[in-house]
């Protein structure tokens, strides 16, 4: 499960990780006021307005804007809330933006020379003090792991690919978590000095605590920056710049299996960000992922469901979805699965592939019959049944043949894939 940036900022704050002041708004009318609140008491008049959507590519799409005054804030908000955001990560028709984050601008310190940095950064890298910090589960070592880099604010996957030596990795102790000494070690490797080490290490320890306590699968701060703060001096001499470590942007993914113990996280989910069919499937206890093709699939088991998609493609077809009915699905859930598949307008044919284990073939067959009664199958339907209660399942389908004229039985996987691809190709 994913959450929005403003929610991620709140979460960071609640664990004591500093973020720049910010306000969320849902109407351009509130933009001026939000701008004034976000920049109040700040030395700089700069603020940044950011569309709150899960999809990336906001900056290039014009949905992250730096503004210098209230009027600019209003104009930017007006633009973002009335235009759809289109980026490589959104559907082609774009996304409607409902919420904006108005956050105080931050003056990021110029990159300071750091003799202690583990990896000297080449000149092509950021000229500002921007870092990458994240915690995730490393499957290879079966540990949660802190990942840090001096090259923040950019695509970390690219850095990891081009210059793996620029990535620092520090495993978390499986029961104790991230220890202070380990966090300090990473802070020094990042090239920090003095009190900035303490601040950064403190952020790392708190992020690690948050990761474990909230059952995250990814907790990412990108960028983590050194901000310059000009605090006014009492005797009105020139203010002396002060430096502070701040989290500018954050991204969290949560382990769906852990959500049962975090109702406060679960309620942060934004249904508008999810695919409607996927939500409907989830409610019925089905695992469904919408895809681009035109052959709907209904399978039991995730591995077999993936393999079914693969075999469709091998026979020249394109799967319209991944759908795993699981082992314990009821007749109603199976019927609902057919409703979901048939609600996809691209669906030109359906392949049912069941190897009954816990799932009984007769339950699937009854689901086919129910769906035929309730919505009808206008598209070709190929059913391959094997395993538990296969004879009962085949009998149910055979008896219903006259009711479902588009139904074809398949004897094995290859036969099923061949038949459905041929039927869809016309």
């Amino acid at each position: 499960m994913k959450i929005h940036e403003y929610q991620a900022r709140d979460l960071l704050s609640s664990f004591g990780i500093p973020v720049p002041p910010g306000v969320t708004i849902e109407s351009p009318l509130l933009a001026e006021e939000a701008y004034i609140r976000a920049t109040k008491g700040m030395a700089s008049p700069l603020a940044v307005i950011k569309a709150q959507v899960h999809a990336g590519g906001r900056g290039k799409a014009g949905f992250v804007k730096l503004v210098r005054n209230a009027t600019e804030a209003k104009d930017a908000a007006q633009f973002m809330l009335t235009n759809r955001m289109i980026s490589p990560q959104t559907p082609p028709e774009g996304l409607q933006v409902k919420k904006l984050l108005v956050a105080a601008g931050v003056e990021i310190a110029d990159r300071m020379p750091s003799p202690s940095a583990q990896c000297p950064v080449p000149s092509a890298s950021p000229s500002k003090e921007e870092f990458y910090l994240a915690i995730t589960t490393d499957r290879a070592t079966r540990r949660n792991i802190l990942i840090a880099s001096r090259e923040g604010g950019v695509e970390i996957e690219q850095v990891a690919h081009d210059r793996p030596e620029a990535i620092i990795k520090q495993p978390l102790h499986p029961t104790v978590g991230l220890q202070s000494f380990a966090a300090r070690k990473v802070a020094y490797q990042l090239g920090l000095t003095g009190k900035l080490v303490t601040q950064a290490a403190d952020i790392m320890v708190k992020l690690a605590k948050l990761f474990v306590e909230k059952d995250c699968s990814l907790a990412e701060i990108n960028p983590l920056v050194i901000a310059v703060e000009h605090s006014p001096t009492p005797d009105s001499r020139l203010p002396t710049p002060d430096f502070r470590v701040l989290a500018i942007d954050a991204k969290f993914n949560f382990d769906d299996n852990g959500l049962f113990r975090h109702p406060e996280i679960e309620q942060l989910a934004d249904p508008a960000e999810e695919n409607a069919a996927e939500l409907r499937a989830k409610a019925a206890g089905l695992s469904y992922v919408a895809l681009e093709g035109n052959i709907g699939c209904l399978v039991n088991g995730a591995g077999l469901a993936m393999a079914t998609m693969d075999i469709i493609k091998l026979h020249g077809g394109q799967p319209a979805n991944f759908l795993d009915v699981g082992g314990g699905a009821s007749e109603e859930a199976v019927t609902e699965a057919f409703h979901i598949i048939l609600s996809d307008q691209h669906c030109k044919g359906i392949l049912v592939n069941i190897f009954g284990g816990i799932m009984r073939c007769d339950i699937i067959a009854q689901g086919v019959v129910n769906a035929a009664k309730q919505v009808g199958f206008k598209v070709p339907l190929v059913v391959r049944l094997e395993g538990t209660n296969v004879d009962a399942g085949r009998k149910i389908l055979n008896d219903a043949k006259s009711m479902i004229p588009t139904l074809q039985a398949a004897t094995d996987l290859t036969d099923a894939a061949t038949k459905v691809c041929k039927a869809v190709a016309g």
């Binding site: 589960t137 499957r139 290879a140 079966r142 540990r143 949660n144 690919h161 499986p174 029961t175 474990v212 059952d215 699968s217 382990d255 769906d256 299996n257 852990g258 049962f260 113990r261 695992s287 992922v289 895809l291 399978v299 039991n300 088991g301 995730a302 591995g303 077999l304 469901a305 993936m306 393999a307 079914t308 998609m309 693969d310 075999i311 469709i312 493609k313 091998l314 799967p319 991944f322 795993d324 082992g327 314990g328 190897f355 009954g356 284990g357 816990i358 094997e386 395993g387 538990t388 209660n389 296969v390 004879d391 009962a392 094995d412 996987l413 290859t414 894939a417």
Partner: protein, 331 residues
């Protein structure tokens, strides 16, 4: 022979009074598995009825059932919030083979449980190590003979009831498996897989091609788990009655890449493989928490080419898993 479990293995079920735990305890008992007890805290002293002839005693703790029956293996059907604890309870009580069927255990629970298991194993001699299979897996089966089996497709429970000589710990349908003595070729393969139903598919295909199975191990679809492909392949390579190894993987993680390297260096037996998810889009979770494509190494294509390089016969279609195994064994 077989790996991990055989007809004389004494098995318990943790979560025996739940609907799933109960149904599969029944299925396993009727297959011929020696089920010596069940565990549900608070229900110790009661009995679980398989049928009129067979009642299984229920205990409050794994420690009690191990002391009284000498149980060596467990299958866990405990609900996700308590399943990691159940794994550690079994390990602490001296259970040797722990099959955790439960799906949906939080990853962080497994990070801790696996680390604690590793710690326990580090202090044990080589022949006393605890083996965890799963979680989120179909379990392990060493097939028995079909002597006395009834209608072979009407129920989960049709099996090698009474004297078949097999051991089924988990949720797989028993009847699709073939004991080597009843196979046409007289050869048995070992199957290791991350996916449940895809394993059944592979078992079915090999059975229909006249092959038996020595043992089938479902290692599960979770990112942090017990046995890896390599752990199982190593046991199959050593088992004199496993004549070929069929390995089924999927997208996500690098387990299969490491297994390919292992096969190349250490495995002399014929190996066939299938990797599911060639058509899965990156970044999407495909049912299994572990099946998300992240880096370049965990795509299906990377795994397929690593396995091919290691000399394995890789089926590109899931319909050819059995065929590739037979080809690799020159049958």
């Amino acid at each position: 022979m077989s790996i991990l479990i055989n007809a004389s293995t004494k098995v318990i079920c943790q979560g025996i009074t739940g609907s799933f735990g109960g149904a599969h305890t029944k299925g396993c008992a009727l297959y011929g598995t020696q089920l010596v007890g069940g565990v549900t805290p608070g229900k110790g002293g009661q009995f679980f009825e398989v049928d009129s002839e067979c009642k299984i005693p229920i205990f409050d703790t794994v420690d009690q059932v191990v002391r009284q029956t000498g149980a060596e293996a467990t299958m866990i059907f405990v609900p996700p919030p308590f399943a990691a604890d159940a794994i550690l309870e079994a390990a602490d009580a001296g259970i040797r083979v722990i099959c955790c069927i439960t799906e949906g255990i939080p990853v962080n629970d497994m990070v801790k449980a696996r680390a604690l298991l590793d710690e326990m194993n580090a202090a044990r001699p080589a022949d006393k190590k605890i083996t965890l299979v799963g979680p989120n897996c179909p379990g392990v089966i060493t097939p028995g003979k079909k002597t006395g089996a009834g209608d072979k497709s009407s129920s989960v429970y049709t099996s090698a009831k009474l004297g078949g000589g097999g051991c089924k710990i988990g949720i797989m349908p028993g009847y699709i498996h073939t004991h080597v003595s009843e196979s046409k070729t007289g050869k048995a393969v070992g199957i290791v897989s991350r996916s449940g139903t895809l394993t059944y598919e592979a078992v079915w295909q090999t059975s229909r091609l006249g092959l038996g199975q020595s043992t089938c191990v479902g290692i599960g679809g979770d990112p942090v788990r017990g046995m890896s492909h390599i752990d199982v392949i190593e046991l199959f390579e050593k088992d004199p009655e496993t004549h070929g190894i069929l390995m089924i993987g999927e997208i996500g993680g690098t387990d299969e890449i490491k297994a390919a390297e292992y096969v190349q260096k250490h495995v002399k037996k014929p190996v066939a493989a299938f990797i599911a998810g060639r058509t899965a889009p990156p970044g999407k979770r495909m049912g299994h928490a572990g099946a998300i494509i992240g880096g370049a190494d965990d795509t299906a294509d990377a795994k397929i080419s690593a396995l091919q390089k290691a000399g394995a016969k890789v089926a590109l279609s899931p319909a050819d898993m059995g065929k590739m195994m037979a080809e690799a064994m020159k049958i």
